[in-house]
């Protein structure tokens, strides 16, 4: 059995460990971004007293004449076409609903769906009108901040390490064993409750710890970053990935590989 107790260590500011050339311009709500009135104001800013002031906490982004503030941690704002993973918390109580839906979906079930429409009060309507969406079976859910999920063409990934991942734009990441037959995807409405093999479980647990490490170090989540992190973590035991120094080491290696790949 393993038990480790330690004294806490103060966190190092990320900019030191990253060695960036350009420092990000970080602001908090109420900070003045600029007094130059020639800029157009984007999301996260407002005009007050002849100055452009930030309304959210985040980094300032400038595209020609447009200034906006990208929030570091924010609630999910739905957009049409986004893939989300969600848990059913409440349901409409009507006669037809009771008869028809309860056979398929219960409270507490997880589903993957696509955003169909966004209402003006912020409510979102979802649809599962394709076989790739629907009820999710056995697997692990990791909840992360929505701002860390990178917008990509597809959010369903079958990773070569032996498991599949759905990166919901709302920050819910679902890791599950890759189904053998292609017809029965993660969708449909019947769940497969057979035991998952030990090798698949190890891959899923390792992926889960890698995603948690990436998120703790504020790295964007997408298939390449998760895959590189998985490969960097292979020399360590799965449960060791929960320790801060090993987490840092693995994420540092991932970051380097991603920079090399870009450069």
């Amino acid at each position: 059995m393993a038990m480790e107790m330690r004294l806490p260590v103060a966190r190092k500011p990320l900019s030191e460990s990253m060695g960036r050339d350009t420092k990000k311009h970080l602001v908090v709500p109420g900070d003045t971004i600029t007094t130059d009135t020639g800029f157009m104001r984007g999301h996260g800013t407002y005009m007050g007293e002849e100055k452009l002031i930030a309304s959210v906490a985040g980094s300032v982004e400038r595209v020609n004449k447009l200034i906006c503030v990208k929030a570091l941690k924010t609630r999910y704002n739905g957009e049409v076409g986004d893939i989300v993973v969600g848990r059913i918390t409440e349901r409409r109580r009507s006669a037809e609903d009771e008869l028809a839906m309860r056979g398929f979906l219960q409270e507490g079930d997880l589903i993957s769906a696509e955003v169909q429409a966004v209402f003006s009060d912020g409510a979102i309507s979802l649809h599962t009108r394709s076989l790739k969406y629907g009820k999710l079976g056995q697997g692990v859910l990791v909840q992360v901040s929505p701002s860390l999920v990178k917008r990509q063409k597809t959010h369903f990934h079958d990773l070569p390490c032996g498991a599949s991942v759905i990166l919901g734009s709302n920050g819910f990441v679902w890791i599950y064993p890759t189904p053998e037959h292609k017809e029965e995807d993660a969708g449909g409405f019947t769940a497969n409750l057979e035991p998952v093999s030990l090798t698949d479980r190890e891959v899923i647990s390792r992926l889960r710890n890698c995603i948690v490490s990436l998120v703790t170090q504020r790295m964007m989540l997408y298939d390449t970053s998760i895959l590189y992190c998985y490969e960097a973590s292979l020399p360590h035991q799965i449960k060791d990935l929960l320790k801060p120094e090993i987490m840092e080491e693995v994420v540092m290696e991932t970051r380097q590989r991603l920079l090399e790949q870009e450069g």
Binding site: M1, A2, M3, M5, L7, A10, Q138, L198, R201, L242
Partner: protein, 291 residues
């Protein structure tokens, strides 16, 4: 207790994983998550400690006050426990929602300390039947991530280790009236011996096996748990079963043995961390809440 909703398939996945000794985060059934302990974080207490275990965050403060001993135990001081479930931990604790859980935890703490050897209560007595030290132990739940009892006990033990009670002398003059004199030196204090203070090990029964240090998701899959309070030598001071499900007497025996084994390792790790922190001396870097 704070709970998470899980789908049937997720529960099945967790239960099967535990049977094969591979939990969702890669730990075995007897592995704890990474623990951080720091003492002396609150300045206006006699002793304090903060413990973080995964997502569970507990802050304990101990205040020593003078009072009269209880009638049935005139030569001893005593401990009073109070547990506050802060609404920061989970929205369920808003308003009076956390009171039930708080009283349950406080009652468990009273039970495990309710024996002669956990804390040397006679050292808390100043003059029999008249004055004694009362230690008010306040526990604050900052964040709830599963396995509350274990973390709270570790924090209480660390806070008691850190407690410094001022040394007092009772002066009696000719007329017989007593005067209590506090020593001039603020560092002249007595410390409690925490060698026999017990720690709780929570064992949750999931399927056919039991796990130590369950996360919120694992607690949702477990129907019954056993709380075993163990001292550093492996002596069980109290045991309690929680949950709606039933436990086989055979499994209770197995779980108790696991609890004793795990408890001894827990105490050894905690002792070494506390001594290491003390050896760093008063100049050590305090991380506190903004680290």
């Amino acid at each position: 207790m704070a709970s998470v909703a899980l789908s049937e398939a997720e529960k099945v996945y967790i239960v099967h994983g535990v049977q094969e000794d591979l939990r969702v985060d890669g730990r075995g059934c007897e592995d704890y998550r990474y623990v951080e302990v720091e003492t002396d974080v609150v300045s206006n207490t006699s002793g304090s400690a903060r413990v973080k275990l995964g997502h569970t965050d507990i802050l304990v403060g101990v205040k020593a006050e003078m009072g009269t001993p209880k009638l049935e135990k005139p030569n001893e001081g005593y401990l009073e426990f109070f547990v506050d479930c802060s609404a920061n931990a989970t929205p369920e604790f808003e308003g009076r929602g956390g009171d039930d859980l708080g009283t349950e935890i406080a009652n468990t703490l009273y039970r495990i300390f309710n024996n002669k050897s956990s804390v040397d209560l006679q050292s808390l007595c100043i003059s029999p039947r008249e004055h004694c030290w009362i230690l008010y132990v306040d526990v604050l739940l900052l964040e709830c991530g599963g396995n509350l009892f274990d973390t709270i006990c570790i924090a209480v033990k660390a806070a008691l280790f850190n407690t410094r009670i001022p040394r007092v002398r009772v002066l009696e003059d000719e007329e017989g009236s007593k005067d209590i004199e506090l020593s001039d030196d603020p560092y002249d204090c007595i410390r409690l011996s925490v060698d026999n203070v017990p720690c709780i090990v929570t064992l949750c029964k999931i399927g056919y096996r039991h796990v130590v240090d369950a996360t919120l998701q694992e607690e949702a899959c477990s129907l019954a748990s056993l709380l075993v309070s163990v001292t550093s030598t492996g002596v069980v001071t109290c045991m309690r079963k929680v949950g709606k499900g039933s436990l086989d007497p055979e499994s209770i025996f197995e779980m108790m043995e696991t609890g004793k084994r795990v408890g001894k390792v827990l105490h050894a790790s905690l002792q070494s961390v506390l001594h290491k922190e003390e050896s760093l001396g008063p100049k050590r870097q305090k991380v506190g809440f903004l680290g």
